[in-house]
Symmetry: C2
Subunit: 282 residues, 2 copies
């Protein structure tokens, strides 16, 4: 496995492979690998000749009051895990290799980013779209892999790929969960043991939503109220959003019908966690 | 010469050439070719194996009160001129091939676009940056060619290429002029014979600027006042802007020194014309 720190280095390495006709899969990450990342790497390994993992905690997608500095980092452990997963190249640049001091260019997706995490985290998706555009241009992959836990991110990036005519495929992998249902996330590390227990409220709430819909409930406001009540009963939890939206537009639904996305963002103590469930409802 | 109307078609054609190791030069245009375009094609012909000219009047770079509908178009004549210039592929898509109805992604360069034409034409450079990003992704050129007449556009696109890590070179060609000095532009077609005569005021004003600087004048405000007075003496001319700025930041200069860009935008009747002059001043 190669570790590349510079753009020239990684381009040089990948360019040679591409000239030899090899197909390249890119897994963009912020590191601190867990089962979610490993599932992406595994899928990329199955589908490509060369697997590149980018590892970069992207400052532009964090708000000024968010956890950029605290975000967990462990390069040595990540390199071991990537090697075990059969990754060919880890691209782990420093911030000043990625962003020139005079950088002034932004990529943004409008509309889709007005909802859910976009409403709560100003500038977040512009940071995501800009770094993803840069990584696509640096690596020039045939396929790029994203986790379905960040459902809105997947939708935004698919929109960006179509709109900017990137010649690549976006592949998604389902949410990886702990045994008690908690969606696996790098930010779970922030939770102390009481918070860790309380954090299952996200999964339990999504299960309640599923049950209510299976019982025939179709009124989005009424279902949301039940979900909100459930979360509010957990003293360590504070709701950022609870939404029932259309899977492709992210617009809030009045009637729960069609391709439905239920999405939650909940603070457990100081830690903001997200989870979601996609359902096809008749 | 190939004429491609669809993205798949042009990608397929160019992809084959690129796999065979050919280098590709792209000349992005809005058509209605004149000597300025031909100079770009000629330069691209010298430097590349394959020359692609894109021909697309991009709606997103026109303001709501601008001349998108009136912008001159003549595909048959353009194809003849491109063929004579040794172009290999003309990519001339319809608007709905380029912009999907749900398109929501924008590329913008901040800072540089606050000045000159960016200040006068809201959203113009975002439209330019978005279409250029798309064209770079569709064609994947080794080099792209732009005219120095659009000095600010060149600077903005060079910034975009660096910031988004496009792996290509931006090549510029000097302003092509009529015998009386008028910078050649597709919009010159809008001028009636009186306006055509009056339009030389732009070039004459830049020549006055050069003379004043050669005489040792360094006070930007004082020089600008002389230039403004000259233009205002022409009854058919109305100033949009007269600026003396730094060539790399576009920030207005107080003292005329260093790498200087003098840039004008002037309405002649209803037609907005631009021109500029770059000088190294000690």
């Amino acid at each position: 496995m190669e570790l590349c720190k510079s753009i020239d280095e990684v381009r040089d390495f990948i360019g040679k492979q591409q000239k030899a006709g090899k197909e390249v899969g890119l897994v963009p990450t912020m590191g601190y690998f867990h089962q979610g990342h490993l599932a992406l790497m595994e899928k990329a390994r199955e589908e490509n000749d060369i697997v590149v993992v980018s590892l970069f905690v992207n400052p532009t997608q964090f708000g000024p009051d968010e956890d950029y500095n605290e975000y967990p980092r462990d390069l040595d452990r990540d390199l071991e895990l990537a090697e075990e997963a059969g990754v060919d190249i880890v691209f782990a640049p420093e911030a000043d290799e990625v962003y020139l001091s005079q950088a002034a260019t932004k990529v943004m997706v409008e509309g889709l980013t007005d909802y859910l995490c976009g409403a709560a985290r100003e500038g977040h998706f512009t940071g995501v779209c800009t770094i993803v555009t840069k990584l696509f241009n640096i690596i020039d992959p045939d396929r790029a892999y994203f986790g379905q836990k960040d459902a809105q991110q997947v939708l935004v990036i698919k929109r960006l790929v179509k709109d900017l005519n990137f010649d690549l495929e976006i592949v998604t992998v389902t949410i990886q969960r702990e045994e008690d249902g908690l969606a696996i996330s790098s930010r779970n590390k922030y939770l102390d043991s009481k918070e860790r227990e309380a954090a299952t409220i996200l999964y339990q709430t999504l299960q309640l939503a599923k049950d209510l819909i299976n019982q025939g409930k179709r009124d989005a406001e009424a279902v949301k109220e039940r979900l909100i009540n459930k979360i509010e009963a957990e003293p360590l939890a504070e709701i950022d959003y609870v939404e029932i939206v259309d899977q492709s537009t992210l617009e809030p639904l009045v009637e729960i019908k069609g391709e439905v996305l239920m999405a939650l963002a909940v603070y457990i103590g100081d830690t903001r966690l997200i989870d979601n469930l996609m359902l096809e409802v008749n």
